[in-house]
């Protein structure tokens, strides 16, 4: 019994991981998750580690199903259909972050994935972004706070794009988002302890900005948001 303890510990961890992955799979099913087989294989390749040495083919099959998906790196930005709000979507290695704001007080951050020409992002309070991309454009729909926006925006290059700053200023939590458009204009909202306000302009070259008297640096968004 005592000698089997470590093995049981390993197997218990493996079982817990398997349960969590199964729950994840059932949750994200239909969300463009094409590789239940790949996940199963990944679990299986660790499972025999406790008893018998796994064959190399198991590990190989774990890699196979979604290996062809090339990771997306792109930024799209522009005005939503009908004006009234600006959207930017920044994708780093398939991890997508989108920001939609009106430059006054309405804003929504979303994050998710960009793969196989499809965008699938979610945000707080059930906000969603679904869409497609390709040919230098991204098209889709954002739903948040009971409102809906549609957009078709073009790919942009630095210094245009999506910037974000998070900081704590005098115990107030500050989150700022800026969209810099190719014509040099900026749209942004800064939220100080959940109260949104128009954002002061950033210096696109350095990201420097002053919020409530505090010097912050807005950084280009790459990958997952630091705080959900």
């Amino acid at each position: 019994m005592k000698r089997n303890g470590p093995l049981i510990t390993l197997l218990a961890g493996l079982a817990l991981a398997a349960v969590l992955i199964t729950v994840n799979l059932s949750l994200t099913k239909g969300g463009g998750e094409p590789d239940p087989a790949g996940l199963g294989a990944a679990v299986a390749s660790a499972a025999p580690a406790a008893s018998t040495p796994p064959s190399p083919t198991v590990a190989a099959s774990a890699a196979a199903p979604d290996a062809p998906a090339e990771k997306v790196n792109a930024t799209w930005a522009g005005t939503v259909d009908g004006g009234g709000a600006t959207i930017a979507i920044a994708v780093t290695d398939g991890v997508a972050v989108a920001y939609l704001c009106d430059g006054k007080k309405a804003e929504v951050w979303l994050q998710g994935t960009a793969a196989d020409g499809k965008l699938a992002l979610t945000g707080k309070k059930g906000a969603t972004l679904t869409g497609t991309f390709g040919g230098g454009k991204a098209t889709g729909t954002v739903t948040a706070n009971g409102r809906k926006w549609t957009f078709t925006v073009k790919a942009v290059a630095k210094p245009s794009g999506l910037y974000r700053a998070t900081a704590t200023v005098r115990n107030a939590k500050v989150v700022g988002g800026w969209i810099v458009l190719p014509d040099g204009s900026q749209v942004g909202v800064v939220t100080v302890d959940d109260v949104p306000q128009p954002a002061p302009a950033i210096d696109p070259a350095t990201g420097a900005v002053t919020v409530d008297g505090a010097a912050l640096t807005a950084a280009p968004v790459t990958g997952v948001l630091a705080e959900n």
């Binding site: 470590p6 390993l10 817990l16 994840n24 790949g38 580690a49 040495p53 979604d66 997952v224």
Partner: protein, 185 residues
């Protein structure tokens, strides 16, 4: 003389080959999976927290705290605090280790499933590497524990590696979160 020879023959690092190989397979599998799996951005959440990040931050902090218990209880087991080691130190070491390991599993599943192997900056790269190696090192440690005749340095070395990796993971995730975003639930 012959006694000496047999004793020496029995103590050999050869018994580590299989655990090391399996640990390496675990590490490589995690890294490969994290790289090829398209991150979903979402994963199961635990009720009571404001978001998946905060869940992970606190689970990892719990594991890191238990890792400190591991370090102290390991020192006690090896008689570093004097010869009279209380009998409950062994069970304490085993159970705190088990719980710490189980706390890390949901964190790892979320990292791998929702975020993947990331190289955005030094921190995420270090964290990704540490994460893959942590589970490999833990596998080696678990598989080496029941083996007889391993060199005396085996368990301190492996335990130290697992501890160092976990603390590194905590520093590159929870500690970073606490200092960058703030302490929140």
């Amino acid at each position: 003389m012959s006694d000496e020879t047999t004793r020496r023959a029995r103590v050999s690092a050869a018994g580590l080959y299989v655990p090391l190989l399996l640990g390496a397979i675990v590490t490589v599998t995690l890294g490969v999976y994290g790289s090829v799996h398209t991150p979903t951005g979402i994963s199961v959440n635990v009720a009571g927290f404001s978001g998946p990040q905060t869940v992970k931050v606190w689970l990892a902090s719990g594991a890191a705290l238990l890792a400190l218990v591991q370090l102290v209880s390991a020192f006690a087991m090896w008689g570093k605090f004097g010869a009279n080691t209380p009998s409950w130190i062994g069970p304490l070491h085993r159970w705190s280790g088990r719980i710490a390991f189980l706390l890390t599993v949901p964190v790892a599943v979320h990292c791998l499933y929702a975020l993947g192997f990331a190289t955005y900056d030094t921190r995420t790269l270090a964290h990704s590497l540490l994460g893959c190696f942590f589970f490999g090192a833990f596998t080696v440690k678990m598989l080496s524990l029941p083996k007889r005749g391993l060199p005396g340095w085996t368990l301190p070395l492996l335990g130290g590696a697992v501890f160092t990796l976990l603390i590194g993971l905590w520093l590159t995730s929870s500690f970073w979160y606490f200092t960058t975003i703030g302490v929140r639930f």
